[in-house]
Amino acid sequence: MSLRHFPNLRILALQIAPLVAFVLFWELSVHGNPSLKFFFGSPIDILRDLGRRFADGSLVRDTAVTFSEAILGFALGNLLGTLSGLALWFSRTAMRIARPYVIFLGAAPIFAFAPLLVIWFGTGLFSKVMISTLSTLFIALTQAYSGASEVSEEHIRLMKTLGANQTETFRKVVVPSSLVWVISAFKLNIGFALLGAFIGEFISSNQGLGHLILVATGLFDISLVLSGVFLLCALAFVLNFLVARSEPILRQLVVRYL
């Protein structure tokens, strides 16, 4: 039987094909050419680096450090941002007062504050979590705010006819109908949370993937730099998967328990 009978397998094969072609092209181009290898690294070296670092435990440690910084910042930033963005729904006045600030802070390059945060919160885990939190918070806030301000007036009227108070309307209509916005903020924030943790490590750290990449760059070890980048991408991939998985669960929880 050919692959044609397994459409998913066929797509998977076609998805992998460009990667294989790229890696082969890369390896063949730098193979036996030390100067090219110096600049671009090689897939085999990357694999070797990853294997070696996995064996001595530093790969797991660095990845775990960056992952925990990013996930803590992600959780904290999204939670605070989403809650405050949604809560603005309760007061039209507060919403209007907050509007310019939300737009301004949403556009602010939070990473510019990163060195400041290291000064304030030290060089440990906490400052990275803070950078990560701040870089996700305003996106979550903007999205939740937009979601809450676009709730259908008709649905709010419906809740009134059913005798709902404001809190009940918030729980039954505002939160669930803003969920699409909130989840899209989660998706956007995966990258920002990782970037926040990474930049924090870049500024000052003694472990984590940012640290690994910084050190490897100093040593002109391109393969090791690319190993770090690869691991960062893998983290983003895992977080994406987790968010995608949580979407229907979150939806159900909101309808059932709110």
Binding site: E154, H155, T161, L162, G163, A164, K172, R251, V255
Partner: protein
């Protein structure tokens, strides 16, 4: 018991007001169905919004018996897209005003009666307009209201289903001695279901005529009323009134 006393409402600025309702009075006693018919856009829905308390009349008053529970089914079904049909029907029961009611069994029997069995877990997007309308009606009825305001509640239903739904509605009216104000453009429905039909004029709407049906107890049924010889008599009277001739 619902009573409107000289209710008027105008929208827009005070310098150039747009009068929509002009001194409408009507009374709907317990166990009574009063239909409101009139040209489209004449302010029938606005009238229900006023009775439901969503709008404040410019002048006139609304009397609703103390302790009455008002159930309002608006013209649009407004089902929440993220809830299944049964979760939508249950929405009112989840609120504090109705938390003490335990209606899970009744909910399922309504679904069965309204020919919605098997669709409890369907999302609104996957269902027809008629199904959504039935769910919206269940959502209104399940919280035990004794004052019902229904805005075109049968507009998307095919005839067979409509009769079933109307019969269920009349049962509810009887069981709870509910007062029902029914807004409809369907004269047959108005005649078959009502004790009284109020005909409104073009905007600004005034009351043009009131027609009393006086159905006997055994005729109080959507099918039997339609087959009664008095039905066509009432129909003629009502169309005359709609056309503009005053009926005493």
């Amino acid at each position: 018991m619902i009573r409107l006393n000289n209710v008027s409402i105008a929208f827009g600025s005070t310098s150039a007001p747009l009068a929509v309702l002009d001194r409408i009075s009507l009374t709907c006693k317990p166990s009574q169905v009063v239909s409101v018919v009139g040209p489209s856009g004449c302010g029938k829905s606005t009238m229900l919004n006023i009775v439901a308390g969503l709008l404040r009349p410019t002048s006139g008053t609304i009397d609703i018996a103390e302790g009455a529970r008002v159930g309002y089914m608006m013209q649009e079904t407004l089902l929440l897209g993220w809830r299944t049909l049964i979760e939508n029907a249950r929405l009112g029961l989840e609120l504090k005003v109705a938390k003490h009611l335990h209606r899970q069994d009744e909910l399922l029997s309504f679904f069965h009666r309204f020919d919605l069995s098997g669709f409890e877990a369907a999302l609104p997007a996957a269902t027809s307009g008629g199904m959504k309308q039935r769910v919206a009606l269940i959502r209104t009825l399940i919280t035990d209201p004794n004052c019902l305001l229904l805005d075109e509640p049968f507009s998307s239903l095919d005839f067979e289903v409509k009769l079933t739904v109307q019969r269920a509605l009349l049962d509810v009216v009887k069981a709870r001695s509910a007062s029902v104000i029914l807004v409809t453009h369907d004269l047959d429905d108005a005649i078959a279901l009502s004790d009284e039909i109020v005909v409104l004029t073009q905007r600004p709407a005034t009351k043009r005529a009131t027609i009393v049906t006086e159905w006997g107890l055994e005729e109080r049924d959507p099918v039997r009323a339609r087959s009664s010889p008095r039905f066509s008599e009432l129909f003629a009277k009502l169309s005359e009134a709609m056309a503009g001739e005053h009926v005493a």
